[in-house]
Symmetry: C6
Subunit: 263 residues, 6 copies
């Protein structure tokens, strides 16, 4: 209807930040298996809910999974796919050495900007780092914690809608901090765990010859595999520094040393 059309015909209040967000998917999203597809779909559904529902103008989703499983890249991809006029990433990389006050201000600023657009998506990347979490103590910034606890629940001003995608490798820490409650939904990111997924990923990297791929297939057959996509990329590049004939054995050795491949 007209009201609806009008509301969705939004213009970004402060220019789209799609380019900035794209930087976080530098190496693309390799479709190495069903989990990848499902995460992107779930993200799409939530974006749709934000756009269409009147009763839930705020949806906050937690994208959590092991280190290097691609959380940041996936969050960025979901944001881009949403096609919302306002996209912004709230990343620890832009707050290095900040005291907690400065961090809070920057985080709050991003949300305040988001509230000015009718349809916004904010990525809260790497919550542990935003919280300055250290396991010894444990220590964390209570100021940032409290700010996030409020921001993740705060309904945007009338007529504005907001999708928040937060990422974390430490669901247990968020639980201990009683932070998981504030999310409306949760998406889990996975490591690669089958030979098939590994081959699909390597294929997507275009790193080995057909013959080499076959050797890899044999080498991992019947073994237990568990490797993060980000880590896999580093190991592949390390293997590629060696002579041609040694590249596959090197990769297998590296995978084993990392504990990513076990009998």
């Amino acid at each position: 209807d007209f009201m609806n059309a009008l509301e969705n015909d939004v213009k970004p209040a402060f220019g789209t930040s799609a380019t900035e967000v794209s930087a976080y998917v530098a190496n693309g999203i390799i479709p190495w298996g069903a989990p990848v597809a499902r995460i992107l779909e779930d993200g799409e559904l939530l974006a749709k809910q934000v756009k269409e529902s009147e009763r839930t103008p705020l949806v906050a989703v937690l994208l959590e999974g092991p280190p290097g499983s691609g959380k940041t890249a996936l969050a960025a991809q979901i944001a881009k796919n949403s096609d919302f006029p306002f996209l912004k990433i709230c990343s620890p990389e832009n707050m290095i050495g900040f005291h907690e006050s400065a961090k809070c201000q920057q985080i709050k600023k991003i949300f305040d900007d988001a509230y000015k657009s009718q349809l916004s998506c904010v990525i809260v990347d790497d919550i542990e780092r935003l919280l300055d979490y250290a396991p010894i103590g444990p220590r964390f910034s209570n100021l940032v914690l409290q700010a996030l606890l409020v921001l993740l629940k705060k309904v945007p001003p009338h007529g504005r809608k907001l999708l928040v995608i937060a990422t974390s490798s430490r669901r247990d820490v968020l639980q201990d901090l009683e932070m998981t409650n504030v999310f409306n939904a949760r998406i889990h990111a996975y490591n690669l765990s089958t030979g098939e997924q590994l081959l699909a990923a390597l294929d997507g990297m275009d790193a080995f010859t057909k013959k080499e791929m076959e050797d890899i297939t044999k080498a991992v057959d019947g073994k237990r595999l568990c490797i993060a996509i980000k880590k896999l990329q580093v190991l592949v590049e390390m293997a590629r520094q060696t002579e041609e004939g040694e590249r596959v054995p090197k990769l297998i050795t590296l995978l084993q040393e990392e504990g990513g491949l076990e009998d």
Copy 2:
């Protein structure tokens, strides 16, 4: 009598904040059952006591209950129903990233303003957040705690009357902080816990067809139910993103995943 009439014929010293308070009942109060009615009545009685009693010019009530049970909305509704000339909500949403000093000042300011009106109602929303409470440590702002402990007991200046409604999801924490003593009364907010209540709530949301309602009735029959009104709204909206035929099963699944529906 005349004296009484005069005293109640108060004018707001700083303009009524009813509109601001209304923002906290955005989705209205759906009358899903007896608990809702009783809470509103209890609130009304206390407001009456403030208005009429000479010996208790200050009444401080604690409205506590599980997360999402509607505490903030109910507190706002009670405030509005009281028809007091001065209404103000003291909410963590307006103090994001504030250091404890700034928080204290803002809280104190609200009470000082309230003291200037003859009949005032102040909502102290989400005490845990105002206290910057974090379970690890545990940590909290002692400055804010001390300020609240004094403000919740401080008799207003001669001739002024004040109703304070404080909300909290963590009665245990308040107990540990020896904070429960300062309240004159306590009201408990409940989750929905019967199929009847669920149906009344869904009815109030106008979200499902008659047929769907019947299906839901069957699906929850004989099961243990426990769901917060706030959470229920999100699940309903999620279910509504699916195809028509799947909406009821989806809702049931979501309720189960949330742990809100058990055999």
Copy 3:
């Protein structure tokens, strides 16, 4: 004798604060029983000692008892009865949100002013709050603690005399802080604990008809009673909001819910 007469013929250096102190006995002192009388007498004796003894120009008394037992009001009454030219209350209500430095300064200022009058009485109200005491930790302001420990022992300048009345609901905390030693005397405030005392108190409030009083007498007969005078006033006002016939049963119910009346 003349010297004595001269010394007592003091004039307040900074104007008497009797009015300010009176605000803390807003609802008067209802003579509900022997304990009330004894406390006032003990206070009178100490005031006399300050006035007359040359060897003890400083007397510091701790007035401690359960929450709401009337400590603040009784301290204020003793101060007023003393008829000293300088009266001042050092209350947390006037230091809301103060940091410990500011608190110390204000407390010290009050004592310094008292030293300027020949005969002074200072009320140090609610020591726990002045100390910013929180049971979790436990936390407290060491700066304020140290200031009080010194001020409560410090002999006034030659020729000046000072009575300090401090109140506290947490004698155990003061004990743990090794603070009880600095007091020269201790007065205990009591809750109402007999039906007779209850009726005397209700009588003093002029809240019920003769018939109602009789009903109450019957209702509490043979029961264990323990209620703070401050709490009692609130319950009475709550009961009075109900219909005429229900006021007594309501009061009894409220007393029971509070744990103030047991079989």
Copy 4:
């Protein structure tokens, strides 16, 4: 000899503070028994050593004993008896509400002034309070502790001599803080512990008639007695507020309530 005469013929660099120090023996030193005499003698000997020895230009003595046993008054008396040209008391009473930095500065200033005179005596009164010691935690000012640890060991500039008398009621705390090592000598202050001592003290206060003294003698005979001189003075004054005939029984009761008199 001449050198010696010259050296002792010192002039105070900053005026003698004997008057200031006298204020701390307001009620005089009542010679209630052998312990009192011995303490004064020990003090005299140490003052002599400072004056005469070349190898120990600094002597630091710890005067410790139960609360109210007269430590401050005795330290002041020893200082006065020494007849040193520079006398100064470093007392918590002059640093109320000071932060640790300010405390350190003031303490250091006193020692620096002392170093300017050829023969100085500094009283460091009530170390626990100077340290802001609180038993919960425990808490204390490390800045003040470190300053004292260095100052109590620091040899004065060539040709200057210094006697430091420190007082404390908490030798155990100083032990735990590894502070007792820095003292060259230790003097213990005692409570009154025999009927004879009690009567000598009462005699010194001139508080009771001969008849009353006899009654007291009988009343305490065969009982265990332990009372601080400071406390005793307060109890005597309290007893004196009563009617003539009741003064002795009152004193005995007060002594018993204080735990100072046991069968």
Copy 5:
């Protein structure tokens, strides 16, 4: 190819710091055995990966081993060997007495400078000291920790490449701080552990005559040896202060006292 040639034909944006880095290999790298060679090779391979791979523009390696095993010198040598146009060492020696904020700023500045060159190598020397780690508490700068955690993972701007070599003697501490995850690779530095390695090292120091070398060979034969190269240099210099005939026995004694030589 051309693109590659161009990319590597980089110019240092801020002048090469090779000289500065050289200062950390003051006593050269004595090739005392296979571990030394392997470390340098591993370093070379990683530098090659940074130069050539497009997918891993950031490689962060942890060079860890016992105190004095030559970590800093080896890191500096690897950096020099890499021939990258931008070399910089981030060393605690340049931040003595810095508060954590200043440390963070300086560290961040070095990385920001590195990002401006196309090919950079940054040494993060002695992480424990950068973190202000103290075992009692334990204590550490969380601000520096968080900054390093982010910087060691942060992908350089498009087209820039960075090799980070971090050194540490406390792998266990980094593990506890969950810091080891952020490194892509790990190189272990070793102590000398065979007579052969010892002789090779002494040979490289040119410190003893042929005869003395033979005596040392005999003396260490069949013993368990474990000594850091840095410590060995000090012991050798101490031994050399003695008379000619005593130098070998002295060295053996010193080695034994250090616990570096056992039967």
Copy 6:
């Protein structure tokens, strides 16, 4: 040779501080036994190493032993004996009441000055006090600790040489702080422990007549003795305040009370 001559023909860059350092051996070094001689020799050897070795331009030695064993005086003596053009003592006495930042700056300044001279000796006196160490907590300045950890390892600029002598009574604390590793050498200071040593020390003080010395010999014969040289001096001076005939028995009593003399 010439190069050597030139290098040692150094001039102090900022004036020699030998006089300042001398103040710390006010009472001279009494040669009471072999330990004293050995410590001075060890110090001499290390100074020689600094002067002559090219590979170890920095030597840091820890002089540790019981309180009062003469560590500071011995360190000062070693420094003076070294005849280095730059001598400086980094003493807590010059930093009383300093906050950790100011302490760090002053310490760093001393080292920076030392680096400007070709041959320098810095005494870091009483590490526990420089660290503001308190056993309760325990507490210490991490800023100072970190500064010392770096400064004690930092190689001076090319061509400069530095001997650092640090003193401490708490080797256990330094161990816990993982500070002992940074020293290249360790020298232990002893208490007097034989009658012979005691007599040699008393002889050096010239405090008793020949007859008295004989009495002392007898009195300590066969007893276990353990007394610090610094303490002994105080006891001797105390004994000397008594009458001639009582001086020996007094000394023996004092030794026993101190726990320095046991059967």
